[in-house]
Symmetry: C2
Subunit: 340 residues, 2 copies
């Protein structure tokens, strides 16, 4: 390992703070962060403070045309992520984008085509799985057969609107893509991953703005019912995290197997244990709490391996596209709820 | 209160052990249990042991034609509950049946007609709400505005197949009606109650037998997505409770409001607090655990009031029918899942 040259990476677009976790995932696994392109001076300055080794370039082509750079990470505004990723792949580099990786079915078709033509990796950093230690432990437990055959998942992704000041694009539907497209994409990823489904469809979906009439383009609630070739799934997302919670969201995942179930309380165990990464396992043998704070996260390491070896160990490429497609279709076909 | 004559009640059909909770709900509220009709000697003997005051009669007409009896409780086999209830109402008595109150849309139409013609009360004992102290507390909190406007509910009703020996009819679909009709009915009741919906439809539903191929008519999994005029809802039920849980099911209800949410862990707090009736409240002010073990249950008392006063305080009649209708429609239109 130590004899390998580090993989050189760069960042293009820092518009969502997710860029920090994305960068750290690969830098902590040994990548060398060399360059940065961002239009916004304030975002660039903050990033350079966190990563003093990075050099800001004035033109993104300085990154795209630098053949020594193998991976670009991007949290540019969602509506231009697809175009950015396509540009990166056409320049012979792999790309990791923030979720949603893209926001229309047309963009998805374009990205799929360019990815296939170029053979580059298009990875969406599904942080609610890749950066959650409890989810990593759940993957191991499921693979080991701890709950029998998985037949269903329920993913709840409440989020906090107020936690950080949101930029204008956050409230413009044509730029963020809608709630199911955006934070729903995480949930589609987890559904496919934990059921092991390689084919799936959206059975039904709802969106709503129940609580934010002053933000007419915001969808503050969404839900969907999914059916895969290896199980079904339900997803609910919202922007209602109340101030009394103390963190940004009570994210949950319940994985139902024929011989048990696993519940993740990812970020908080309400009125319970302190900290995050709580896993509860109930099976034919026992009911057990598992503290996952020491669990290894492997996404960054595996992605660097994949870049070297042209493999798909961090996430199968088809899975990445299917998770994105489900979220987009759920959004496109959603009925809008207007509760009385 | 003490000057009122007690309401005289009788039981017809003891085929599900729910009859004990149903009987106690009204006996504890002051009803006088006077008569019992059941074909099965063993079931009758057990019931008489629990309620020594009750007299077994040889012909159900002795109950139906006794004008001093005002209420009949019945946990007869589901496929004949509707006919039993109709008989009771046509004899000028109110009736409380176990859930599912009936198992076909034709039966529902008949019961609705006879109820309207007779003016008698047709009540289904939705024990997962009426007999759960945490649910009663949740009703109070929601009514007091603790979580703002309720917009959605998620009800999870896992059950244990093995907890008591199940009779043959339990595995015969034409007799129990299917999983969404049966244990799903509880969840439809809670969805309507907590969202306050008076109109609702089934958006999509699934049934499956994932784990019990030796019981071909058993549906061991079901889920449905609901849309009401005051909120939406998701329901998942199954017969997978694993042996390591230590009780019959990890029943949960999450009530999502625009200013907070309530989670009920009705029967167990896995790897957490002992006992049952756990309520968790998160709102703009706080995250709080509420032990509901002292909460009053009011269904029995209110039903006796309704019998006296011809009111609908225990449960609106239209709500009882709509909850039943949703469960029946979800069952009738369900896609059958076959996971690979």
């Amino acid at each position: 390992m130590t004899t390998q040259k580090p993989i050189r990476i760069a960042a293009i677009g820092l518009n969502h703070p997710h860029i920090y976790g994305m960068t750290r995932a690969v830098v902590n696994a040994g990548a060398e962060l060399v360059a940065l392109y961002a239009e916004e001076d304030d975002l660039a300055a903050a990033y350079q403070k966190a990563f003093p080794q990075v050099q800001r370039v004035a033109d993104r082509r300085q990154i795209l045309e630098d053949r020594s750079i193998e991976l670009v990470v991007s949290a540019i505004v969602p509506d231009v992520r697809a175009a950015t990723a396509i540009d990166v792949m056409r320049h012979g580099k792999d790309v990791m984008v923030d979720k949603p990786g893209l926001i229309t079915l047309e963009q998805l078709a374009d990205v799929r085509r360019v990815q296939a033509e170029s053979g580059q990796i298009f990875s969406v950093c599904f942080s609610e799985r890749f950066e959650v230690r409890a989810a990593a432990r759940a993957s191991e437990l499921v693979a080991a057969g701890a709950i029998g055959k998985v037949v269903q998942t329920i993913g709840l992704g409440p989020h906090s609107l107020g936690l950080n000041p949101r930029p204008d694009w956050f409230f413009q539907r044509r730029r963020y893509g809608g709630i199911l497209c955006d934070i729903g994409a995480h949930q589609c990823d987890q559904f496919l991953h934990f059921t092991g489904s390689t084919e799936a469809e959206v059975v039904a979906s709802h969106i709503a703005n129940h609580a934010n009439p002053d933000k007419p383009e915001l969808e503050d609630f969404g839900e969907m019912l999914l059916r895969g070739n290896r199980g079904s799934g339900y997803v609910r997302v919202d922007w209602y995290t109340p101030k009394g919670l103390g963190t940004w969201g009570d994210g949950r995942l319940t994985i139902l197997g024929t011989d048990g179930y696993i519940e993740l309380r990812k970020y908080v165990d309400i009125a319970g244990r302190p900290g995050a990464d709580h896993l509860f396992l109930v099976n034919q043998k026992e009911t057990r709490y598992v503290d996952c704070s020491d669990q290894e996260l492997s996404y960054g390491r595996r992605l660097l391996d994949d870049i070297r070896n042209r493999t798909e160990t961090a996430m199968p490429q088809a899975h990445c596209f299917l998770a994105t497609e489900l979220a987009l279709k759920a959004e496109a076909q959603a009925s809008r709820l207007v509760a009385g």
